[in-house]
Point group: C2
Chain length 312, copies 2
């Protein structure tokens, strides 16, 4: 359940007057998402999604909301934030930063097929191209400096073999940086639960709150690591190839990117292994924390470290 | 038929590569509209409307396209222009300025009911509020200076009684200017054929190519003059009241605006009487001209000049 902050119909109706969206018809909590509070908001004009941000502050939102607006304006499938009469995408509601976005018609898939993986790759490439004209910038807060620092706080608590593997991978990544590869706006968290599908078509990428400026190939690695990962932690070659093929119909990868691919897959696995280790060993206080198994990404990283063929 | 400029599938597919919209599936001419060429464009991502501008030049488009983008971003029902990878809304296709916009689901109505008139009034007010933060400006090219000059070229060709009425109305309007009334972005041509309805809901305002900065009340008068006008040229009080009531749920009119209303209705009728007289007496050469009956607006103006009650 993800309604942490309650909004009354009266408060919603009053807040809606900031917008050109008509009058409130229905307000209904959405039982999905683990970080923010979400509602479906039906007005006399249409249906929207209300998000109340439980962690992010109002001043932190412009990069993410302006990015979604920019991508939507370029036809990339994602929710379009609605601006209010002050030309702002967010303001306080029930004491929390809040925004309204257009409502997409689709749902996430837990076991994608190859056509869906191909569509995800294609749309991801479109997102990378459309991001090229986005004027704001944000460094990746979960990059190498973050994982090295975070790992240093975890080694003592971890089993020795796991700690050794983590140390070794962080050192390996530090010796393989690819700052010369194409950079741009990346989603950085394009897991299966952050894509709404309508059959084999992308209804929309959602949850852009890890988006930042980083290496484009790293974004593809993060997506492949989730979309093509089987329940046992191994990678399905057909799904991985389909995602990469879809991507390359729009933006063919260079030889340098192909060379960097195996290391980038490891980097993508490392980043989520570290964040899950952090949640596991140092859970944040409060009711908002859902601990996911770090072992999945350790297995995946181990598989990537042993593997020699990478579908490119 | 309104496909003046033909676009081949190959040309369309090549031009589509400027956008993040996937590959061409179908291109189909639209037999509506009298000024521009329109196509439905279906891609692997969705359905869009292509407009090729037959008269407007590329440099004239930003005001109109950025306005539609601004209004759409604020939730006002209208087509959203799609930006290309150069972050532009328009570029040349088959030698004409061309743009793609989102496809709306609705159709125009020829005999609206009161609920539809109310919805049009409400959305028009939302458009006026949302327009307040639009940064670009354009003077009304069809304002008092235009109608006075245009009329001066028509008097000699017109029957004496009609010319006398036209002279008198232009003098009357010149003695009643309302520059102190609320200004803003107006549609300036919100006739029934420029609104797509989905039942009693507004699917979208379209055809913003007369939009400009002018008196908001004038925009309402233009809308009432068409939406509430019966086939015999008289105004249906119920429809006019419904449109005004819908408008005022969002932006109540001031006493000054209510006082100016009868004169503004006459101004709205005058502007279209003059443009139709111009088309009638001085038809532009070429196949793009459809001459509409100027008499409708003369009748309407005559009715407004005699009437004393104005639903406000």
């Amino acid at each position: 359940m993800s309604v942490y902050t309650s909004v009354s119909n009266d408060d919603m109706q009053a807040w809606l007057q900031r917008y050109a969206l008509g009058e409130l018809v229905e307000l209904k909590g959405i039982a999905a998402g683990i970080t923010n509070t979400n509602y479906f908001v039906t007005t006399t004009h249409g249906r929207y999604v209300l998000t109340l941000f439980e962690v992010l502050q109002l001043a932190e939102l412009p990069y993410f909301l302006k990015l979604k607006s920019h991508l939507s304006r370029h036809g990339v499938a994602c929710p379009a934030p609605i601006a209010d009469h002050n030309d702002q995408f967010a303001s306080l509601l029930s004491g929390k930063p809040a925004c309204l976005v257009s409502c997409l018609h689709g749902s996430d898939v837990s076991a994608p097929n190859a056509a869906q993986c191909r569509a995800v790759g294609e749309m991801l490439a479109q997102m990378h191209l459309a991001g090229a004209t986005f004027p704001l910038r944000m460094d990746n807060p979960r990059g190498p400096a973050w994982w090295a620092h975070t790992a240093s706080t975890l080694y003592d608590a971890m089993p020795a073999a796991d700690a050794a593997m983590l140390r070794d991978e962080i050192a390996f990544q530090a010796s393989h940086r690819f700052d010369f590869l194409p950079h741009g706006v990346i989603h950085a968290d394009l897991f299966k639960d952050n894509v709404l599908m309508d059959g084999d078509r992308i209804a929309g990428f959602i949850d852009f709150y890890y988006a930042c400026n980083d290496i484009l190939l790293y974004d593809i690695a993060i997506a492949v690591n989730d979309w093509a990962r089987l329940p046992d932690g191994s990678i399905d070659d057909t799904l991985a190839s389909a995602l990469l093929a879809g991507y390359q119909t729009v933006r063919p990868l260079s030889t340098s990117e192909a060379d960097a691919w195996p290391v980038m897959l490891r980097a993508g696995a490392l980043r989520f292994w570290v964040s899950r280790l952090l949640d596991f060993y140092q859970p944040a206080s409060g009711e908002l924390t859902f601990t996911k198994d770090p072992g999945v990404f350790q297995q995946l990283l181990a598989a990537h470290r042993q593997r020699n063929s990478f579908w490119l």
